[in-house]
């Protein structure tokens, strides 16, 4: 019997989840997909109303009747208000910053609410964020919720099914709806160094920048210091002349490049190779080096900077 009710509950839940609005954001929660049940507070309130009704009847007290009936009516109205608090809510977008495998990914869920009076007391839960995060969505701006999801392997991370709930306005009813936005974040391979410096294994020859040659890069001029530039590149003499921090620039063409090649890492299993490449990419990026990535079906030309780093890591993630 217990297993039967369990199976029935599972069946109902599965059908509810199947019907949850899904697709690319923006997603709108239709009124028919908003579920509502009395909360614990609602049950307590119901008992209170019954006691008040008994008291009013016992004393034939019309003001007591009025209070009881008015609060009961307000509770019924609050049920409709609670339903309206969710119905028509729009999931404007879901974004996630890329993370490395093993880290916790955060999906930023954006809720758009142009309703007046504003929707309040919204909670979004899903994935590992079981307790739900409060969303403040006023009438003139959108609200955001952060949904955490643990990652294990690299690749695309699908946004967990979201539960959007609220107990607004009186807390007597819990209203909720599911949404499965078609959105994903990227999980880069965890950067794990197993081989040490790339020179030791499989460097294709046109070499990595070794420290002795670095200083010999051709000087091409000075430019103003920008935040983010390495302090070591500040040319103090030039700075003294101009009263501004100047840094030396080396012409790009003269900078030797690294090639990180998947096929050369024969000593490692495929996933370990990707982790090794991710490690090298991060290390090179930290040094400001110029590097290229060569994968069996895909080659990224040598370059530098955050955009290049992200492109390389994405290529590894989606390998």
């Amino acid at each position: 019997m217990a297993s039967l009710t369990r199976r029935l509950a599972d069946r109902i839940e599965a059908s509810i989840r199947r019907r949850a609005p899904s697709g690319r954001p923006p997603l709108r929660i239709p009124a028919r997909r908003v579920y509502i049940l009395p909360s614990g507070t609602g049950a307590l309130f119901g008992v209170l109303l019954l006691v008040m009704l008994a008291g009013a009847t016992n004393y034939g007290n019309n003001l007591a009747f009025s209070l009881t009936f008015w609060l009961a009516a307000a509770a019924l109205v609050s049920m409709h208000r609670a339903h309206r608090n969710l119905a028509g809510l729009e999931l404007a977008g879901v974004r996630a910053e890329p993370v490395f495998a093993g880290e916790t990914a955060i999906f930023d869920v954006e809720l758009a609410s142009r309703a007046r009076p504003p929707r309040r007391g919204l909670y979004v839960s899903g994935g590992a964020s079981e307790t739900g995060t409060a969303v403040s969505a006023a009438s003139d701006r959108n609200g955001y919720a952060r949904i955490a999801k643990a990652t294990h392997g690299r690749g695309r991370l699908v946004c967990p099914r979201l539960t959007i709930s609220s107990r607004y306005p009186m807390g007597l009813f819990r209203c909720w709806s599911y949404a499965t936005p078609e959105a994903h974040g990227l999980v880069y391979p965890a950067p794990i160094d197993r081989l040490g410096e790339p020179t030791s294994a499989g460097d294709t020859g046109d070499g990595h920048l070794d420290r002795s040659r670095r200083g010999e890069a051709l000087f091409s001029g000075h430019r103003r210091f920008h935040s983010g530039d390495s302090r070591r590149r500040i040319d103090w003499k030039a700075s003294a002349r101009t009263d501004e921090l100047m840094i030396t620039e080396h012409s790009e063409t003269q900078t030797p490049t690294h090639w990180f090649d998947y096929d050369t890492l024969t000593a490692l299993a495929p996933e370990a190779r990707l982790s090794q490449l991710a490690y090298w990419i991060l290390a090179a990026d930290r040094r400001g080096a110029v590097y290229g990535l060569r994968l069996p079906k895909h080659t990224l030309a040598p370059a530098t900077g955050p955009a290049h780093r992200c492109a390389c890591l994405e290529a590894l993630a989606l390998f």
Partner: protein, 669 residues
């Protein structure tokens, strides 16, 4: 369904919220100061103040041991003060103390919910003490605060308290139709479910007590509280016929008239033969905590659920603790008990074995002189008429066992209970069956509204004698001694009218009198239409509406509630529709766009207001001035800082007046 549920909205409350909760409890408990012993009010106020100060200073919650000790002390104090912890006043005292104590530990969500629920309960207990219009306003304020607190608790951290207050007002306003339907149609069960507490006498209005001793009616006459209000169906009877029948007293010992328990067993209710058309009255009776249903003499019927006593007055099955409204039919001309049963005759002639020898002697003289009962009655009335009796609220004291002698021969001053009591004594001593009737005499016409007011100051007592062939006949000895009492009211009749309450006098009808009368009209409406609504009136309403019984009533009610809620839901959907823009300026501009779109000039996506206006002006030169002005204003309102609200209003006003028409050529049809 969902196995993983988010935790309740708020798990802990902020200091400001706890302070607000303390204020709400203080506000809701405030009227109880008048109902509870002083020490309970003081202790509650002290606890609330302590809590507020503690929160203001940022002190932590007092330790559990302190709270437990305080709780025990509260229960102990109530037990010692009242001798019990149940019952109306004791229960309320305990409730208030425990609520104030509970506030010291309201940190978690659940505590706050419990406190708010108890607040609703405290509101209900307020109404047990008073159901005045003022308390109705209190009900509104209290409900609004409690619902606002519930809303704030679930609105999330970013919601301002103002928003909760507005939401609460909106919820309660939308709830009014449903609440009204429930109030009128929800089946009302009569009577107490578990018995009324005994200790509510302290708050009772003193009405007719059911016994009569020297001074008891005069005490009542010092109050101008409204005993009942009455509407006559047709013209009001003449002043001499405005006798309102209350309890009838048969027994006399030690100077006190009363109705012993044996009366109802030995004497059957009277047979009343009405002559002529009766008078139909609609009476709203104030609670008296006595079962008497007062009606114009001689009552024929009141509501069917009630019983007629041996004296011919009507009583309710329970003491009247709430206002009741009933229709009573009365006969002005009647014959009651043309035949007197032997048991009734015995009781109507019974006198104590001793006491009042001079009165007995006087009565025997009359009886020896005249064998006819009518002649004896006349002799007695002549005695009162010629005896230079003084009609006063402050009669001299009389002895307990010879009260009639003292009054008739020594003091010669008294109020109606003296006259009625002495007369009835004389009649019985002379062998004429007689009894005392207590009730009210007179009625004051309301200044506003078609109704009459009978006050405690109109309380009266008179006699009835049984005459062969005529049955029980009303004889008012007070009228013989002070004829003005009946014709002109009590003020003209008593020698010390200064002791009468203000509204009973009413001789100088100044602004205060009229203000009181205006308030009486409001109060009368409140009592008649709201407070008096109960099981009996509901049955009458159901009958008038063709509702067969509670089953049908519940069906109708359910339909009404569901229908109303559907309308509420539709309204909410319309009110909260997503397209609705919060800024009225933007709304006004969108309206302009819609109106232009209707004449084929929809704005392209990405087109700026000014660019749009230029295009509209090029297509429809007639609109140039208006649309250029509107677009410029809109752009300024949207993108400039420090806009005066007058400027916004001006734009909205102009936008509303913008009605572009289709181009000149008129279309057929």
């Amino acid at each position: 369904m969902a196995r993983r549920r988010p935790k309740p909205a708020v798990s802990t409350t902020s200091r400001g919220e706890r302070l607000a909760l303390t204020s709400i409890v203080a506000f809701i408990g405030l009227p109880h100061i008048g109902h509870l012993p002083f020490w309970v009010s003081l202790a509650t106020a002290a606890l609330l103040a302590w809590n507020a100060v503690r929160l203001l200073l940022g002190r932590p919650t007092p330790p559990g041991l302190v709270r437990a000790l305080l709780t025990a002390a509260g229960v102990g104090a109530v037990l010692m003060g009242f001798g019990r912890i149940n019952g109306q006043t004791a229960g309320v005292a305990l409730l208030m103390l425990m609520l104030a104590l509970k506030l010291t530990e309201t940190v978690r969500y659940r505590d706050v919910v419990v406190v708010l629920a108890l607040c609703c309960f405290v509101l209900v207990t307020q109404f047990l003490f008073s159901q005045s219009l003022g308390m109705a306003l209190y009900l509104v304020a209290g409900s609004w605060l409690v619902v606002a607190a519930f809303v704030h608790l679930h609105a999330g951290d970013d919601a301002p308290p103002r928003a909760a207050a507005a939401e609460s007002a909106r919820l309660l306003a939308l709830a009014i139709p449903v609440a009204a339907a429930l109030f009128v149609l929800f089946p009302r069960l009569p009577g107490p479910l578990w018995g009324l507490p005994a200790n509510n006498d302290g708050t009772a209005r003193t009405g007719l007590s059911g016994t009569m001793s020297p001074g008891s009616i005069a005490d009542l006459a010092r109050s101008d509280a409204v005993a009942f209000r009455v509407r006559f169906d047709g013209p009001a009877p003449p002043p001499a016929a405005r006798y309102w029948r209350g309890p009838v007293l048969w027994n006399f010992d030690h100077g006190t008239w009363h109705t012993g328990p044996g009366v109802a067993r030995t004497i059957t209710p009277p047979r009343v033969d009405a002559q002529g058309r009766g008078v139909r009255t609609d009476i709203t009776l104030a609670p008296s905590h006595k079962p008497w249903l007062i009606a114009l003499d001689m009552p024929l019927t009141t509501a069917t659920a009630h019983r007629r006593t041996a004296g011919g007055n009507w009583v309710a099955p329970h003491p009247i603790d709430q206002r009741v409204r009933y229709i009573a039919r009365s006969a002005l001309h009647y014959t009651v008990d043309a035949e007197l049963a032997p048991a009734a005759r015995r009781l109507a002639l019974a006198l104590p074995a001793t006491g009042n020898p001079r009165a007995r002697a006087l009565a025997h003289r009359w009886a020896n002189h005249d064998h006819d009962a009518r002649a004896i009655v006349h002799s007695a009335l002549d005695f009162f008429r010629q005896g230079r009796f003084r009609y006063t609220l402050n009669p001299p004291r009389t002895s307990r066992d010879n009260s009639v002698d003292d009054f008739l021969f020594t003091t010669r001053a008294g109020f109606c209970e003296h006259f009625a009591g002495a007369f009835t004594f004389l009649m019985r001593a002379a062998g004429v069956p007689a009894r005392v009737v207590t009730g009210y005499q007179g009625a004051q016409r309301a200044s506003i509204g078609d109704y009459w007011i009978v006050r405690d100051s109109d309380a009266h007592a008179w006699s009835e004698v049984w005459l062969a062939g005529a049955g029980w006949v009303r004889v008012d000895p007070t009228a013989a001694a002070a004829p003005k009492r009946i014709a002109d009211g009590i003020t003209a009749a008593v020698t010390d009218s200064g002791d009468l309450p203000y509204m009973a006098g009413g001789h100088d009808r100044d602004a205060w009198y009229h203000a009181r009368m205006l308030w009486d009209a409001v109060d009368a409406g409140w009592n008649r239409w709201f407070l008096a609504y109960g099981p009996a009136l509901q049955q009458r309403l159901f009958a008038a509406l063709g509702i067969a019984g509670f089953g049908t009533a519940i069906a109708v009610l359910t339909g009404l509630v569901v229908g109303t809620l559907a309308l509420v839901s539709l309204w909410l959907a319309w009110h909260m529709r997503a397209e609705r823009e919060a800024d009225p300026v933007v709304r006004a501009w969108r309206r302009i766009e819609r109106r232009l779109a209707r004449i084929g000039l929809a704005r392209h996506t990405g087109e700026t207001p000014v660019g749009y206006a230029r295009r509209v002006a090029a297509t429809r030169p007639a609109l140039t001035r208006q649309i250029t002005d509107l677009a410029a204003r809109y752009a300024r309102l949207r993108y400039a800082a420090n806009i005066e609200s007058a400027e916004r209003r001006e734009f909205i006003r102009r936008a509303r007046r913008f009605h572009p028409r289709r181009t000149g050529e008129t279309r057929a049809g």
